[in-house]
């Protein structure tokens, strides 16, 4: 089985460029990937969730988590004012403490990219835009590509696209693959995060297959969710995706990042994810270039916990900005 060979950690690297050649080659590759036992995967994730991260380790993890936040607003009610405020917060999350790092990126709708771009320019904080008719992706491909090009042209250096779940679930892997390839081309130099919408894929077998499909098609990141369906990021889904990027790196040498998004609200949650990264994909992924949190309210909790560690007293929400 081709997938078997490529999923090894053997030093021999495989050329997977032919896998996407046809529907048949893709299908046989994806269906040849090892299965995921739901109970076992969930137990592993739960066990890692019991790790106790304290004192110095916690301080280190909080700062890393802040640097990994894709500070996100994806509301119909978003306005330039709101986005400008959030962009300012992305740059200086805790105005009271200059030692507090900036977040990884700001994540907005394409129409808001022109508003955010000047604020973030030259700061090192990335500007991500959801595109491709987010969140459903239910628009003609040409429109999705135009959406992407517009966001990049307006200054986004990261694009969060959604895959065609309908095509994936009905087994039209080639269609999904080709669309990702096309979006990747439309991205130009911008990094492409491919949202699998794992809550709609349902099984971990699907999550693993979709991760490989996205990586084979050129994704720079695989991302769990849009945050717009009831089930968003979970620890076990992220575990399966981390295993996929780890195995893909071992097979091809190319490193793909992972972004859980949706439902991650507390420092405790974020640290569980970092433990998962540390003990699954490894240290190489403990970097904002390789791992991000798609979140909005998470940042304030990270800031509160950070302040608690520095001051020794519990803080409260009124001491942090609501943006």
């Amino acid at each position: 089985m081709l997938a078997r060979m490529t999923a090894t950690t053997a030093s021999a690297r495989s050329d997977l460029s032919e896998v996407g050649r046809s529907e048949a080659t893709l299908r046989s590759f994806l269906h040849g990937l090892p299965g995921v036992d739901q109970v076992g995967a969930e137990q592993r994730a739960a066990m890692l969730g019991t790790r106790s991260i304290k004192t110095t380790a916690k301080a280190w993890a909080i700062d890393l988590a802040i640097r990994m936040v894709d500070l996100t607003t994806l509301e119909g009610a978003d306005t330039p004012g709101k986005v400008r405020g959030l962009a300012a917060k992305a740059l200086r999350p805790d105005p009271a403490d200059p030692s507090c790092p900036a977040v990884g990126a700001l994540c907005v709708y394409p129409t808001m990219v022109p508003v955010a771009a000047p604020v973030l320019a030259g700061s090192g904080v990335h500007l991500a835009s959801v595109a491709t008719a987010f969140p459903s992706g239910q628009a003609p491909l040409e429109i999705r590509l135009a959406d992407t090009r517009a966001a990049v042209a307006a200054g986004a250096d990261e694009i969060d696209m959604v895959i065609n779940r309908g095509a994936f679930l009905s087994g039209r892997y080639g269609e999904v693959f080709d669309e990702i390839v096309a979006v990747k081309a439309a991205c130009g130099d911008a990094h492409l995060k491919v949202i699998l919408e794992t809550g709609e894929l349902v099984t971990y077998d699907n999550v693993r297959r979709a991760s490989w499909l996205a990586m084979l098609a050129g994704a720079d990141f695989v991302k769990t969710s849009t945050g717009k369906v009831p089930v968003a990021a979970t620890l076990p889904v992220t575990l399966v995706m981390l295993e996929a990027v780890r195995d893909f790196r071992d097979a091809t040498g190319r490193v793909v990042g992972v972004k859980p998004a949706g439902g991650i609200r507390t420092t405790k949650d974020a640290i569980k994810y970092l433990v998962l990264v540390n003990e699954t994909a490894g240290e190489e992924w403990l970097h904002p270039d390789r791992f991000r949190f798609g979140a909005s309210s998470l940042l304030n909790d990270l800031l509160m916990q950070r302040t608690k560690l520095t001051t020794g007293v519990y803080s409260g929400p009124d001491y942090f900005t609501l943006d």
Binding site: R4, R51, T56
Partner: protein
Amino acid sequence: MFEYAPAPESRAVVDLKPSYGLFINGEFVDGEDRDVETGGGGTIKSVNPATEELLAEVTEAGRADVDRAVRAARRAYDEVWGRMPGRDRAKYLFRIARIIQERARELAVLESLDNGKPIRESRDVDIPLVAAHFFYYAGWADKLGHAGLGPDPRPLGVAGQVIPWNFPLLMLAWKVAPALATGNTVVLKPAETTPLTALLFAEICQQADLPPGVVNIVTGAGETGRAVVEHPGVDKVAFTGSTEVGRQIARAVAGTRKKLTLELGGKAANIVFDDAAIDQAVEGIVNGIFFNQGHVCCAGSRLLVQESVYDEVLAALKRRMARLRVGDPLDKNTDIGAINSAAQLDRIRELSASGSAEGAERWSPPCELPDQGFWFAPTIFTGVSQAHRIAREEIFGPVLSVLTFRTPAEAVEKANNTPYGLSAGIWTEKGSRILWTADRLRAGVVWANTFNKFDPTSPFGGYRESGYGREGGRHGLEAYLNV
């Protein structure tokens, strides 16, 4: 580097006395037997295997002490427990289960201190299962007529029980809960190196107002155990431990009317087929052999990997092993704790040395071990053949022997090629292959796509030289009833 800072569980919750007597007839009493020949009169030092620090001294019960305990148990059986309605026995057991839950943290910390196992395991596995076991059997106490074992099953009388050091309190629960639920009284001897949670359990019996003599705990070593097994006043013997001692016990009770159940050694095969869910299989392999430092009779100590995925599985296994955190058992992030005793460490070292000497290739991840205490790095041997000692003898430590196979029939043949038959593992995504393989494995517990799972409702016990009788579930009642 994501270095986890130390996260030690506080031991302040444990209140240890410098020394403990025997628990006989509801009270802690001094040993009376001063006859060194019969094991009496001495004391045993219980040390923390992670630090070699002295935890407490316990009494070594001699034959006269065991006799006192058996007489107390007999009296309690005749006068109170044997005639008590099942619904009342049930209430005592429910009460004990609740107290165990309430004092769970204290029990977990003490278990880790005395045994060396990681607090994560004593907290998340051992103690919850102990409480669950008492809950489960409590419910049986007034339903024995419905257990399908006959219309009027009767208790046997006094049960003499000898338990090992690997799951000290859990093994106590496996013995005491079904015995009490069925109306028997017990004299239990905990292991020489891990007596402390049993003594804390004795306090729990007092706290539960369990009638005196229903549970008696006599600490000591092999001679004390022998005195329990051989006492003519004992009607039932239950033993968990090595196959060699099991054999001696089977000989000792021959010709008596004592009912005997034995839960002995194992050398389980964990079979990984080429279509397995590899990541979960690797977790299962790791859990199978490194859980509880490999001090597990049903440990998956022989890994049988299909040759077509050998490289892949081995690479993933080594990568995973490199993540194992070995060290302070009380640290909440520790995966592998201390070896229980110097003697056990010697045995693990001796067998591992034989593995190297016989030509197998030894590998351990880089792993710093503490200077004090008894430690052994997680280890695998590759290139192992069926003839090697490390493929045949129970090591009872964190040492895995890796063998390969080509066909399902060969896997089954190798798995069964041992005098033991306690457990086995199967990893494949194909349902019919699981059932085909499970049918052919000569083992009392078969874990398919999982490993080392335990539950009070699930019978546990071996085929062949792994012993006889079942503990747990409805089957576990039979060992304590005259049907």
